[in-house]
């Protein structure tokens, strides 16, 4: 493997690990959405129905 290819491979693996870690943010993001929806439904039940 040439030096250039080795450097590019290392960098590509670093980017791959970073993107895989970024995907983990999907869980808290969905939780935020659920919390907001639950809060709105709670307001509905508490004040409007």
């Amino acid at each position: 493997m040439s030096e250039l290819t080795r450097v590019q491979t290392e960098r590509a693996r670093h980017v791959l690990r970073r993107d895989a870690r970024r995907e983990l943010w999907l869980i808290p993001q969905a939780l935020v959405a659920v919390i907001i929806v639950v809060a709105i439904v709670w307001v509905r039940q508490a004040f409007f129905v």
């Binding site: 491979t9 590509a12 693996r13 895989a20 995907e23 869980i27 993001q29 004040f47 409007f48």
Partner: protein, 496 residues
Amino acid sequence: MDIWQVLESILVVVLVIFVATGAVPVVTAAFHFLMVPLHAVLNHYRQADAYFPRVAVLIPAWNEAVVIRATIERMLQLSYPAERLRIYVIDDASTDSTPELMAELSVQHPGQVFSLRREQGGQGKAHTLNHGLEIVLGDDWAEAVLITDADVIFTPESLEKMTRHLADPKIGAVSAYIAEGSRDRNYMTRFIAIEYVLSQLAARRAQNVLGAQACLAGGAQLHSRANLEAIGGRIPTGTLAEDTVATFESQLRGRRMLFEPHAVVLAEEPRTIDAIWKQRLRWARGNVQVSWIYRKVWFRPGRGHHLGNIAFGLSWFSIFLLPFAMVLSSIGLIGLLLLQSDLAQTVFRALWVTASVSFLFSMLVGLQLDPRTGRRSWREAFLFPGLISFVVMIAALFPGLIEEWLPSLFGLRLLPVGETTLTVFVYVWISAAMLGAWGARAVEKTRVGRWLAPLLLYLVGYGPMLCAITVDSYIKEWRHADASWIKTEKVGRVLG
């Protein structure tokens, strides 16, 4: 109980089922959005690796002189080994300066940029691509083929983020996230930007989890050579949905298709209702054809592919049959109003509370997936179903707020005749919104269209406009209307 009472009871049940069909698409959408967080763990990153195959980029071009130089120059700046990248522009008998420009670019970048010209053009994108594929697959150089459009700008790391998945031989093709990238945005491009967040960043992640992709984006699809050879070395022609047919054919042969959300490419999108109508009508007619061609695949879980998954089929048909669901829902509500108005009210509330909660959850998930687009287009996100439907959702979530409390601030009270009129209006609105979209397109061409068309679209909604286009596609397919390729005009507005 006499026969008429029995018949009425049966009719009531049928009408309730009609109304319930309106909830199926929104619940299916919400179910898919619930799968988005699963992509955090059920993804392909563990099987992916740094991988730089020799990539032949195919760009079909017909009169693309305004955009082609920027596209190629950005492609040459990709963080990808230069000796492993070749760009082939297939000029489909352009009549502008595309041939001269391509001749110049091939001289400037020898061995990297190639110009292929068809003297007889105008048969459509698939035929143009097949001309290029025949040449590219004719020798052993290319290990992968990237199919893109003349106006699509690839961000520097996008290609290597796609190729890393091809390190796994089970993967046949990878698609990127096509983001709306116009420099000067208008209301339409902001709506499209939100639509792409929902339909790509959210829905295609869910499809990754399900193991089946409905369609690889035509502007950024990377195929392994083995995958292209498995489907005959050519893009299937004969439909208006060549991207979808290629995606289905590849999956039926046992290879997986993937969506890579972090590979971002920018594309120029239509700016008027008429322009998007023509583009989406082509896509929608293609989907009608695909639904029929693969009629033996739907809802039949099979070995080797996941296209027969129940969830995948529900997802496909909930979009394809959405206009039917909306019309059935309205018919059901009006019928119940005539027979049992109290039940109509209960069913209506249940439908809209379900729709509101599903919509809110989907939008909140979507807006966080691409915060930049979310910040720019949050108004279009909430007005996606239209201002009128948004107000109905608020009324469904907070009973009394709109119809009682708000008028009471001004000392007003809704009279019985007003209440009946308003009730009939909101019951019918679910399907009437599609007619409103048709109206918005009609007024766009008039003198007042410049401000009236956007105003109408905000009122009736972008979603109902897409449904109206789907209805138009049913009509055009039923009439076997002319299906010649109409190119979406591009003028080089993408961020450079």
